[in-house]
Point group: C2
Chain length 232, copies 2
DNA sequence: CGTATCATTGAAATTTTTCAAATCTTGTGG
DNA sequence: CCACAAGATTTGAAAAATTTCAATGATACG
C-alpha cells in the first residue's frame, strides 16, 4: 500500500470512472484515493460484512462471489482493469471480492466517494451506464448458468478469455495461445460446475482438436470455429 | 391503449421513478407518457430488436427472458408494479419483456425519456440506485440457478411468492393461501428446470406436508419452517 | 360438453456429481 | 541443479439428480 500517486500516471485514467472528471476534479479525488495491492487469494470485501470502500481496479483480475450457508460457491462476476469495485449506498456487502492474481487498486472510503458521485453528474451517469451494462451481462450469464451444458459453458468461457487476453498467435488468423488466469477450481466456480467436469470437458475439447493444453495454465485455441460451434 | 391519464391518479405515483419528480416536472413527463395495456403473453420488447421504449409498470407482472439460438429459455427477471422497464442508452434490447398476466404500463419513447433522465439528477440517481439493487438481485439469482437443487429452488421461490403475495391466512401466523401467478412451465423457466421437475418437486413438498395444492394455481404454505429448511 | 392446454406421474436415458486414485506441476530447500 | 512435498489436475467407476419421452388425468374456456 503506497500513497502519493498521481492520477495522470494512472494506467486506467482514461477508462475508469475517473475518465468523466477534468484535471481539477481529479485532483480533488486524488486526495481521497489510496493505492492498494492485493495478493492472490486476498479479499477486499466480505459478503455480509460492512463494506467501507469503493475502488477502481488498476491491474489484475478480481472475482465477485456468493456462497450458500453450507459452503457452495458461485462466482457472480469477474472484474478487469478499469472496472469499478464496490457498492455505493449499501451498508453491507452482498458479495465477496477476491483477487485472482496480484491486483492493484485505487481505493476510496465509501462515504466520501458517494459524495463525489453525487456532486459530479457525469461520473454518476457513467456509473449508471456501467451498472446497466453489468446488469445485462449478469442476466446473460443467468441463461448460461441455468441452460447451457458443461461443454457449452466451457467453450463459451474459453472464447471469452481468448478475446480478452492479449495472447500471441503465429499468424494473423492462426491459433491464439495464452495463459488461463484461473485454476480449474476457479473456472468451476465461475461456470457452476465441479473441478472434475471442467477438467473432463477440457480434455474432450483437446482430444477433438479444438484446443491444446500445455501445463496447467497454458492453452491454445486451435480451432476457433469448432469452439464456437461447441459454445452454442 | 388510452391517453389523457393524470399522474396524480397513478397507482404507483409514489413508488415508481416518478416519485423523484415534483408536480411541475411530472406534468412535463405526463405529456410524454402513454398508458398501455398488455394481455397475458403479449410482449412489449423483443430481444435483438430495436427497443424504442421505456416504461413504468403500473399493474401486473412482466417477465424478462433470454433464449439460446436453439430455443432454450431462461427468465432472467420478474418485474412488479412500480418497477422500471427498458434499457436507456441501448439501441437493441438484450431481453424479451412479456406480460405474465394482464398488465398496465406507462410507456415513454426512449430518446425523450433519456433526456428527462439527463435533466433530472434525482431521477437519474434513483434509477442508478434501483439498477444497483437489480444487479445485486441478478447476482444472487446466479447462485440459485447454478448451485441449488431443484427442491431448494422451488422452496425458495415459493417463499418469495408468498412474501410478495397478499394471500389470506386464517390466523395471524397460520398458513398463507394465494394463487401462483405463473404456470408450471413459467416457474420452470424462472428456476432453470423442466416442467416435469417443477411438478415433481411440488408434489413431493405437498406429500411432506410443507404445502398444499388446490387446482393448478392455488397454493397454501402449510409449514413455512419446513419450506425454509428446504430452501437452503 | 368438448377440446386445447396444463399438470402429473412413470420409466428410461443422460448428464453431472461424488468418491477414489493416480499423475502432473510448481516452488523450495538441500 | 535435483529431489521432494504440496497442491493441482486428470481419469475412472459408481451414484445421484435431472431430463427426456410417453402416457394419463385435470382444468378451463368457448
Amino acid at each position: 500500500m503506497t500513497a502519493a500517486h498521481i492520477c495522470s500516471d494512472c494506467a486506467v485514467r482514461d477508462r475508469a470512472l475517473c475518465a468523466s472528471l477534468d484535471d481539477a476534479e481529479l485532483n480533488a479525488l486524488n486526495t481521497l484515493g489510496q493505492r492498494r495491492t492485493l495478493q492472490r487469494g486476498q479479499a477486499l470485501i466480505w459478503a455480509g460484512e460492512e463494506s467501507p470502500v469503493c475502488a477502481n481496479l488498476i491491474s489484475g483480475v478480481l472475482k465477485l462471489s456468493a456462497t450458500t450457508p453450507d459452503g457452495r460457491e458461485q462466482v457472480v462476476g469477474l472484474l478487469y482493469p478499469a472496472d469499478f469495485v464496490g457498492r455505493p449506498w449499501a451498508n453491507t456487502a452482498d458479495f465477496t471480492v477476491t483477487a485472482l492474481g496480484e491486483a492493484e487498486l485505487c481505493v476510496f472510503p465509501r462515504g466520501p466517494f458517494e459524495r463525489v458521485l453525487e456532486d459530479h453528474v457525469r461520473m454518476e451517469r457513467l456509473l449508471l451506464q456501467r451498472t446497466l451494462a453489468s446488469l445485462d451481462e449478469a442476466r446473460a450469464r443467468m441463461l448460461t448458468l441455468a441452460r447451457l451444458s458443461a461443454r457449452e459453458k466451457l467453450a463459451g468461457f474459453l472464447l471469452d478469455l481468448a478475446d480478452r487476453s492479449h495472447g500471441c498467435r503465429a499468424t494473423a488468423f492462426g491459433p491464439v495461445t495464452f495463459d488461463l488466469p484461473l485454476t480449474r477450481g476457479e473456472m468451476a466456480d465461475v461456470l457452476g460446475l465441479t473441478i472434475e467436469t471442467v477438467s473432463r470437458q477440457l480434455s474432450k475439447l483437446k482430444a477433438e482438436g479444438a484446443i491444446n493444453l500445455m501445463g496447467a495454465r497454458g492453452i491454445t485455441i486451435r480451432d476457433r470455429a469448432k469452439l464456437e460451434a461447441s459454445s452454442q
